[in-house]
Amino acid sequence: MTPSTVRTNLKTALSTITGMRVFDYVPDSTNIPTNNAFAIVGQLNMNYDFTLNRGFDSATCQIIVVVGRMSEKDGQSRLDGLLASSGSTSIKTAIEADKTLSGAVQTLRVVSASPGTITSANIDYLSYQYSVELIG
C-alpha cells in the first residue's frame, strides 16, 4: 500500500460527487457556496503486517467533510445527502464504487461517519468525519 497513491485515489473517488471539492489539507479559506461541500482526506493510520512476510498492511483513513455554517439549513440538507448509504451524493457509495481504488489496495470499507464541527476563522462549520478501513 502506497499512502500517497491511496490518498490521491480517495480524492479522485470523492471528486465524482457533484459539487465536492477535495483537499488533503484544511484550506485557509472556507468560503463554501450553497449546495457545495469540501472534503479533506487525512493521513493514513497504518497497521503493518496484516499478512505474513510483508504481504499486506491495513490502514485507517479519516476523511472530514464540511458543508457550511452550523446555522445554514441548506448545509444540513447537503450533509444528509452525503451521509446516505446510497445515491449519487453518497460518500460511502462514491468511495466503495471501486473497492481497490484502481488497484492501490486489496479492499476497503467506509466504516463510520460521525457528526461534528470544524472551526475556521471563528466560524463553526457542519462536518462529518468518515473512517475508511483499507487493506493492501
Binding site: 496484516f50 499478512t51 505474513l52 512476510n53 504481504g55 499486506f56 479492499t107 470499507r109 466504516v111 487493506i135
Partner: protein, 135 residues
C-alpha cells in the same frame, strides 16, 4: 540464529506462494502417548506412538484464478503438498523448511461478516512430513 519474529513465514501450496494471504500459520507435531503401565509400575509408563501433526492456517480468501480458494477447494478430499519456511528466504540449518502432505479435509469458501474481510480458518491433518536444512 537468534530470537525472531514469526511474521515472515513462507507458505507455499504446491508451487504457489500464498504467504500474502496468510495471517496465521502453525505446525503442531504431536506424538500419540501409548500407555504401557504394568502391574509392578508405581507411576504410569508411556512410550511414543505414531506422530499426528496438524497444520493450522488462518487465510484471507481470494477467488482469483490459482489463488487461495481454488487451490484448496479444488483439492477438497485429496492431499496437497505444502511447504513452510520459518523465515522466508534461504533454507539452512538455522532456518529449516517443513514440507508436508496435507489432507484437505475441510474448506469454507464462504465466510462473511459485515465488518470483516472474508477469511478461512482450517486445521489440516498432515500425512507426511519432512524437515530439511537445505531445500
Amino acid at each position: 540464529m537468534a530470537i525472531f519474529m514469526g511474521n515472515k513465514v513462507s507458505v507455499v501450496v504446491g508451487t504457489t506462494t500464498i504467504t500474502d494471504h496468510v495471517s496465521t500459520v502453525s505446525l503442531a507435531r504431536e506424538i500419540d502417548q501409548v500407555e504401557i503401565t504394568a502391574m509392578n509400575d508405581t507411576v504410569q509408563n508411556m512410550i511414543g506412538g505414531i506422530e499426528r501433526p496438524t497444520l493450522n492456517l488462518e487465510l484471507y480468501n481470494d477467488f482469483a484464478s490459482a489463488s487461495v480458494n481454488s487451490l484448496f477447494e479444488d483439492a477438497l478430499g485429496t492431499k496437497l503438498n505444502i511447504k513452510l519456511v520459518p523465515v522466508s528466504g534461504t533454507v539452512s540449518s538455522t532456518n529449516p523448511s517443513y514440507t508436508m502432505s496435507c489432507l484437505i479435509s475441510s474448506w469454507t469458501p464462504v465466510n462473511g461478516a459485515v465488518d470483516a474481510v472474508a477469511s478461512v480458518s482450517v486445521s489440516l491433518p498432515v500425512t507426511a512430513l519432512t524437515k530439511s536444512t537445505s531445500a
